[in-house]
Symmetry: C2
Subunit: 377 residues, 2 copies
């Protein structure tokens, strides 16, 4: 598999009350098309990743809506797999190019979350959970808190381990002017922040964010630039209580093994990664399930600085979901934008050194959908 | 393109208050898998077409949900393009097989519409329209009534022409025990039925329906059976007022031309078709835009009996959306099930004679998304 990332675009992530979903999508899309040096007429389809706009604004058919706002004809669709919607849009666009249906496809991940109240957003996001979880009163902090608590009991992971993830990702975000929280925090501040759902605190949780990210993918193969070389999706139960273990996300293992095999590389070859840190515990689980370290050692792996910029394998140089922000449908596309930018050496102050192969991991719900991509120079 | 339809499944369409979305999806899926003679373990991915369940039941991630209910691992996703969601799911599954990602993919189209009140459903369906259309108080009968009225004024199409579509589709449904309305109606009854939105009457409109349809698609190519030989999507503005004409659906032309070219056949080669008669006027527009007859002559084309079972090219032998029912996300998949069943000569009382090449046309909204498939023996 060799799909070229011809262009990337991203909006500011944050509480963007003066922007609409349409204007965010257009901004990211036009930046990506401009970066690709193609014209609108060269783009044959638009694949949109979005989770909740149908619920919060009663607007469906976002594929056609965004395509026609951009003046694009051809194919269009919206794909949804909860918080993995963006990754799925990239995955499908790759397939459409591999299938020979299109040469150039625009992928847009977008979410407008701050136009409605917190309780409405919290409820809409729980659509990613099961009916039983909703009826039991669980929210996403609750689901990930269960995983964190079990991981702590089983492997000795501490609140400090969790906080280290947050401190690192805020450090990275301090060098990313698109980030929602472009500032550093101290370990003390993270540890003293109010509890959201024990053991998770405010600084263990990703925020509610508006934003969009876009990539132009192409069958072009001139050897230059960044290519997606692996793309895979894996599935698990939507209901966390149907799983055998609370301390792993099996779909991460399955999707990453497939994507790495497709790319013909080993996990040890990965120089840089963007993973789905919707909560700090999720980044610890990702380190273990992707195979960067052994099960139970994710906390220490991060604490040792391996995944901090300057370390042997930087993780979430964008600031991650925690500090760059988490506009749900945009996240999986933003991960591709960040890795492509890093591999091209265009990441400015947060540029990682000598990075040639990168990986993205995008999770839906508590692990029911996982999309992994491998990118190479 | 040559993707085998290895198995098909369909539930009863209707007001199924004793069934859930999950049970409907499972029933259709298991029937399709059983028909395909594969086992659950042979299926590598589940692609789900669904429009409104996130809104009416706050349940997202239907790809993973349905996959895990069936005990399936591998890939999963939900795709949405309003009432074209089912067709899009088939289109994407074909691409995933062409791309070499999977060998066998299950496609499930499903909608559970009768669990909430009529006003809630009407509002949810208007998510397929534009914000301006919603604010103007338009509903889908209103949008199609505008098209019908303009077609009448421009081409002399009459209420009787519209009613002929309904009478024909009820006649077909009377031979389909899966249909929501498996009975004939007289032309007089259709003409005397109450007006919903002038000039459209109750019998010009498709109903609110629960139901699911499923197909197993495969890279297998042993020469036997039915194959999808063309699959294309086209896009237009979501807002009807942004179009140049109210008497055509340009995306139907674009998608059908692409799909026919891909299949290497001409529109004259089509022996049988399932088209998107969400309102009777839509079937008249489909006849014209697909090129079965000239623009403006769709009403007469149907009146002459050409598209009635026994005619030269039967259309909507299932009963169509009008009489078989319209569980939104299921419709595009049901069209594939019906054409495959007809081509295999397994349609029982409603079997069309000498049919070798079929076409399906699935429309999202008032024509913003159109998916066309060509199937051949």
């Amino acid at each position: 598999m060799k799909i070229k990332v011809l262009g990337t675009g991203i909006t500011k992530f944050g509480e963007l009350w003066d922007q609409s979903l349409e204007s965010l999508a257009q901004e990211a899309a036009l930046e990506a098309i401009n970066d690709s040096r193609l014209t609108i007429d060269d783009i044959e389809a638009v694949y949109v990743g979005n989770m909740i706009y149908g619920k919060t604004a009663n607007q469906d058919q976002l594929g056609a809506l965004i395509a026609s706002k951009l003046g694009l004809k051809g194919g269009s669709l919206r794909v949804e797999g909860a918080c993995a919607s963006g990754g799925l849009a990239v995955h499908l666009a790759c397939q459409s190019i591999q299938a020979g249906t299109y040469k150039n496809v625009l992928v847009v991940g977008v979410e407008k979350m701050t136009d409605v109240g917190t309780s409405e957003i919290t409820s809409a996001l729980m659509g990613a959970g099961s009916e039983m979880e909703r009826k039991a009163g669980l929210t996403f902090p609750g689901l990930y808190a269960l995983m964190a608590k079990t991981h702590m009991e089983k492997y000795g992971t501490t609140k400090k381990h969790l906080a280290e993830v947050s401190v690192k990702n805020h450090f990275h975000a301090s060098m990313n002017d698109k980030a929602q929280f472009p500032f550093e925090i101290t370990l003390e501040k993270a540890l003293k922040s109010p509890e959201i759902c024990s053991p998770l605190t405010l600084f263990d949780a990703s925020p509610i964010t508006d934003g969009a990210a876009a990539v132009v993918l192409s069958s072009e193969n001139d050897g230059k630039g960044v290519y997606i070389t692996g793309s895979a999706v894996a599935t698990d139960t939507v209901d966390l209580s149907d799983r055998k273990s609370l301390t792993e996300i099996p779909a991460t293992k399955e999707a990453s093994q497939k994507a790495l095999k497709m790319a013909g590389v080993d996990i040890k070859d990965i120089d840089i990664a963007e993973v789905h840190d919707c909560f700090t515990i999720a980044e610890i689980l990702a380190m273990e399930d992707l195979g960067f370290c052994k099960k139970g050692e994710g906390g220490d792996f991060i604490k040792k600085g391996y995944t901090r910029l300057g370390g042997k394998m930087p993780v979430n140089t964008s600031g991650g979901l925690k500090a760059c922000g988490h506009p749900v449908g945009a996240t999986g596309v933003k991960q591709i934008v960040e890795i492509a930018t890093q591999l091209l050496g265009k990441a400015g102050k947060r540029q990682a050194k000598d990075v040639k192969i990168g990986l993205t991991q995008n999770v839906g719900g508590s692990g029911a959908t996982v999309v992994v991509h491998v990118l190479s120079l």
